[in-house]
Amino acid sequence: MIPSRLVRPTATALLLLAWAFPLYWMVTASLTPESQLFETPHIVPRALVFNHYQALFAERRFWMPIRNSLVVAAATTTLAVLVGAPCAYAMARLHFRGKTWLLAAVLAVSMLPQISIVSPLFLVLRVVGLIDTYPGLVVPYVTFALPLVVWLMTGFFRGLPSEIEDAARIDGAGRVRAAIEITLPLAAPAVATTAILTFLYAWNEFLFALSFTVSPERQTVPVAIALFRGQYQIPWGEILAGAVVASVPVIVVVVALQRRIVSGLTSGAVKG
């Protein structure tokens, strides 16, 4: 059997393999000529071609859905965090009547199944003239992302010892100054985590994107890739290439924000 000291590394290796292999396969398959896609695949591909990527950008103008997804996801993340964080701070720190009900209401919004909302929302957006526009996607996305942001950050702020802010206030900082100079830097890890989750949600969202956009000028990446499918054939190579390209911004964002998550910031402030 496997000696005990090798169990951990072996398990890690297997896990890594299970997780990374589909990615690897996706990338290599996207570089394989269409004709060879359904033959027995080789672990290391024999030939690498860029046809699919060329087709993506030359014929299908894939840069457009990418642009749309980036705009929508970035706007959603920014708005959700800008609105959600102060809301969470108020929920955690201030006392006012009906606070529990408000928090419950916020949670209730996120429990609504998207599919039941799509039709009425479509009608509303059409009346307001927001079909096939950026706001038409950003507004519903922010609505569904806010509950998660508020809940995550409220929990975080509650866990932050209020004594540090008390100390800042006694030191002469007003409530706002204390929040900005003391609480905010400490909240950075939570903000980063929330931002990642919101970005991923907005980037991968399909139902609303499909329903509320009409033209390629506003369609996002998931919708665009789904629409590659023709009446008689499915361009697997291009779909795979599209999926690879769609993964890149997500990986970049996660890596960039991961560095900001510095844990143990609060371990030195409070004894124990």
Binding site: A167, D171, G174, R177, I182, L186, A269, V270
Partner: protein, 359 residues
């Protein structure tokens, strides 16, 4: 430097509990006052009210003759040292010390000067560029102290600053805090739950229970002349022995009936209204073990606690009444032996049915 006055201050929290009830306390300019009491007595709440972190439900608070009841904490010019230190975790020690001065718009050069001087005085000058996570508990405590000192505030507020230190460090730091006060002369309000800490630190002590002031006096007065049974048992260790009983007086002789036995005291000149007495108090240090034949009370020695510098003997009188006696280490004691207790006559205290001490 400022005098602090609490005028009929009351604090009721939204859950309904009264944390502080009609408190009247005057702290003199430059005084070192300790707020002591068991958990839940409201002492930390009082400190937070003075600091401005809580607003009183009613009553007024004055700092240096100026009413601050409605003034937010950032404008009260007070400095507080927290039990958990509450250092800014993302700032260096230098930045932690400088923060308050920056908020008060002190000139950069002066900030640097004061920070260096304070750091030197506290022995943390070589830690200035570290962040709190890299410091030990004692070092963090010094930084917390430094952050308050560097501000040169009107008064210091200490919220159980030594509770998180290990016992050995506590004694040293306690002495340093007192020395600091002597050096700076700034008014100091110090909260603790430890009666020994209160006695050693306070020039005057306010004993609190359930939000009410039980007694405000010097340490010695609290010890010798406690206002009631609560203060009598709270101050002093081991706690004072309280024996339920009645007292009768015939001319100069007083007879105390307690625990089924009678103590006779001759030549009593005191003016005390003995008919009102319901309990008698005597401190463990004022009781001595003696031959049961000539003793005031007789009982069985149950437990011996050797401390090294003394022994603590627990004597059971009848069913559940215990008397604690502090005995010299040299005295031979054996458990379950029958012993006699002798009370120092001039150290007996008498309390009425409400627990108030009779004079």
């Amino acid at each position: 430097m400022a005098a602090i006055v609490l005028d009929r201050v009351r604090k009721v929290f939204s859950g309904g509990q009264t944390a502080v009830a009609d408190l009247d306390v005057g702290i003199a300019n430059g005084e070192r006052l300790v707020l002591v009491g068991p958990s839940g007595s409201g002492k930390s709440t009082v400190l937070r009210l003075i600091a401005g972190l809580e607003a009183p439900t009613s009553g007024r608070i004055f700092v240096d003759a100026r009413e601050v009841t409605d003034i937010p904490p950032e404008q009260r010019d007070l400095a507080m040292v927290f039990q958990s230190y509450a250092l800014y975790p993302h700032k260096t020690v230098r930045e932690n010390l400088a923060f308050g001065l920056r908020m008060h718009r002190v000139a950069r050069a002066e900030i640097d000067g004061r920070v260096s001087a304070t750091a030197d005085a506290l022995g943390i000058a070589d830690l200035l560029d570290r962040i709190p996570a890299q410091l030990s508990g004692g070092q963090r405590q010094r930084v917390a102290l430094g952050r308050a000192i560097v501000r040169q505030p009107q008064a210091f507020l200490f919220d159980e600053p030594l509770s998180n230190l290990d016992p050995r460090l506590r004694g040293e730091t306690r002495a340093e805090v007192v020395a600091l006060h002597r050096r700076l002369g700034t008014t100091m309000v110090y909260v603790t739950h430890d009666q020994e800490e209160a006695m050693t630190v306070g020039q005057r002590i306010a004993v609190l229970r359930d939000g009410r002031l039980e007694q405000l006096a010097t340490p010695l007065e609290l010890y010798e002349r406690p206002a009631n049974t609560f203060v009598a048992r709270f101050i002093g260790s081991p706690p004072m022995n309280l024996l339920k009983g009645r007292v009768t007086r015939e001319s100069g002789t007083v007879r105390i009936e307690t625990c089924g036995q009678i103590i006779t005291i001759d030549a009593v000149e005191s003016q005390i209204l003995f008919e009102a007495v319901r309990a008698v108090g005597i401190r463990p240090h004022d009781v001595s073990l003696t031959d049961p034949q000539h003793a005031d009370l007789r009982g069985r020695l149950d437990v011996i606690e050797p401390l090294g510098h003394a022994q603590i003997a627990h004597v059971t009188l009848d069913a559940d009444v215990r008397v604690v006696v502090v005995v010299r280490t040299e005295t031979p004691l054996s458990v379950d032996s029958r012993v006699g207790l002798a009370f120092a006559r001039n150290r007996l205290l008498f309390f009425d049915d409400a627990g108030r001490r009779l004079d």
